[in-house]
């Protein structure tokens, strides 16, 4: 059994639009070791959610492969995929929209177990549902309530219980705490970290919130307009951000401490350009303070050592081996 649970190789998703192809996910290579958390950060429209959904094959990737435990998810037929889905689950962003308002907590959490027929009778199903509710810290008096009777934090716990009901190995968490207040957000983050320890889960944690991603991730990938611009272990990324976009992103976070009043952060100019038929070369170049002519032609991947990879020719380092993910997965 290899250490790598999930690997993406040259994963692409292009959406056809009247104006041309929208490059939502463009040639992403990544690996996630068993039991670890990979954080995916980026701003709206950078392709983070599309990436998560392509990996679970909730949307069909345009090309590339997704290796889960060494098997290519993109080539599975419906039957194999159905079996595989037990092991890969998703926690959604919006605890208000992702629960069926006409189903009780019991029905919502037990539905995956009914579909997969893993409980022998109703009593077993109920026992297992109560166990799951206990695991995520939901009191059993909620078992027959409907989502509208419950607050956001508890609803998110229902979503987590549902995702865990089939004992998955891998969970994609798509902005699971963004809709919650900070005090509730902290409760849910602690819960997710405890569950990871207890059940040996592997997470892909998608968020736009940099302090949350630093808190929960082992490794972090930064996305910009469908491409991965930097990937590094979390402390390395926060102490030595190499890509100009990562640097700008980090300096833009308002710090809740004294000494930052009326301080101007390094701003990046303009806004994200269109992901439809993007020009070759570095997609950040039009906003980058260091852009040169070379940036419009190529965007080399550099390996800075210690697992730190950056898509910028300014950063030195050795050329990164694009096939690293394939080797690890093989």
């Amino acid at each position: 059994m290899s250490d790598i649970l999930l690997a993406c190789n040259h994963l692409k998703k292009y959406f056809p639009t009247p104006a041309g192809y929208l490059h939502a996910v463009d040639d992403i290579n990544l690996t996630i070791p068993r039991g670890k958390t990979l954080g995916i950060v980026g701003e709206s429209g950078c392709g983070k959610s599309t990436l998560g959904r392509c990996i679970l094959r909730l949307i069909e990737p345009t090309s590339g492969e997704v290796l889960f435990d060494g098997r290519d998810v993109t080539k599975m037929d419906q039957k194999e995929l159905h079996k595989m889905r037990r092991e890969m689950q998703l926690i959604f962003q919006d605890p208000y929209a992702s629960l069926n308002p006409r189903k009780t907590v019991f029905q919502t959490i037990s539905e995956p177990m009914r579909i997969y027929g893993i409980c022998k009778d109703k009593a077993d199903l109920e026992r297992r549902t109560l166990e799951l509710m206990d695991t995520v810290g939901l009191s059993d008096r909620y078992i027959n309530t409907y989502p509208h009777e419950i607050d956001g934090g508890r609803r998110q716990r229902i979503g987590i219980a549902r995702a865990l009901s089939l004992d998955p190995k891998f969970v994609v968490c798509d902005e699971p705490v963004s809709a919650l207040d900070v005090s509730i957000q902290a409760q849910i983050l602690n819960l997710m970290m405890d569950l990871q320890d207890k059940m040996g889960l592997t997470y892909m944690f998608i968020t736009h919130n940099l302090s949350v991603v630093k808190h929960i991730s082992d490794e972090i990938a930064v996305l910009y307009l469908g491409q991965m611009v930097e990937r590094a272990p979390r402390n390395e990324l926060f102490s030595n951000p190499a890509h100009p976009y990562t640097q700008a992103l980090l300096s833009a976070i308002p710090i809740p401490a004294l000494g930052y009043k009326d301080k101007e952060p390094e701003l990046i100019r303009g806004e994200v350009s269109s992901p439809i038929n993007p020009k070759p070369g570095c997609r950040f170049a039009p906003r980058c303070p260091y852009a040169t002519k070379q940036c419009q032609e190529e965007q080399p991947m550099r390996d800075l050592g210690n697992g730190h990879i950056v898509a910028c020719h300014r950063c030195g380092g050795a050329p990164a081996n694009a096939g690293a993910a394939e080797m690890a997965a093989g």
Binding site: A186, Q187, A248, Y260
Partner: protein, 337 residues
Amino acid sequence: MSEKLLEINGLRIEYTSENGPAKAVNGITFSLDRGQSMGLVGETGAGKTTTALSILRLLPKYTAKVTGGEIRFDGRDVMSVSEAEMRAIRGGRAAMIFQDPMTSLDPVITVRDQIAEVLLLHREDLDRANVDAEVGRILEMVGIPAARMHEYPHQFSGGMKQRVMIAIAIACNPELLIADEPTTALDVTIQAQVLSMMRRLKRELHSALLLITHDLGVVASICDIIGIMYAGEIVEFGTLEDIFDPEKKHHPYTVGLFGSIPNLTMDAERLSPIPGLMPDPTDLPAGCSFGPRCPHYDPARCGSTDPVGSAGTPTEIPIARKGQHQIRCVLYADADL
């Protein structure tokens, strides 16, 4: 001209609801000087937006009721001025930036017309022929090329729509600018651009700013004074230094809020969240409303956590004061701060 621009004294606001009156704001008091910027921080349901709306008399007419206290804008009692006078203040001398730029702009009216509307209503000195020039000048101030004034909101990105909202609010050089979560809907790099612009406008226009947010980072980058709100009360108030200095004494809720944010500069293995949930505003506890979630809760001093009966008098929680710093908690006396 008085130094104090906005004074709020013992303000109480209730909404009618199926389960009886929902007590959204429960006796808050603060004042804001000219040119000063204040942050009102709290979580969903703390009563921040209700407070802001009441200053401009924008509360829903039939469901919300001010049940006590007073609001003074430049010495005048906002609650008793006529609707005509209120219209002159609202949008002119005091303006509001709303949270969601996607839904607060009219989608079928050009940006030029939306800004011009404010100018025509409030700037009587302005010649109609000069409206376009003035709209252009205001747009340039918020970093939008004047040439784009004839476009519609959908042609702008989220960050630019928020700039249009800000342009509408500052069109008449308001003395008071109320910003309700102005950057919450924006990405972090765009948030940084908007905050930087707001700091610049504050310097150039000398407006007082009341910033409503749940983000302590945003507050730390722009505010002079801060009120921390919980369940309709200001539980702690002070200067930026009073609130953010970890060496000073703080309300247990303030401590909980800071413990809940993942820290970028330090490595904490676990967050220390506040257990439980905000109380139901129709069913507030009789004593300290934070009592049921507080690690220092003591029924003998903090009052009962049973709900207040409609006739019951809530236990008065003392307020400790030192300079501007105030904490509403039985843990501290004045001398402790």
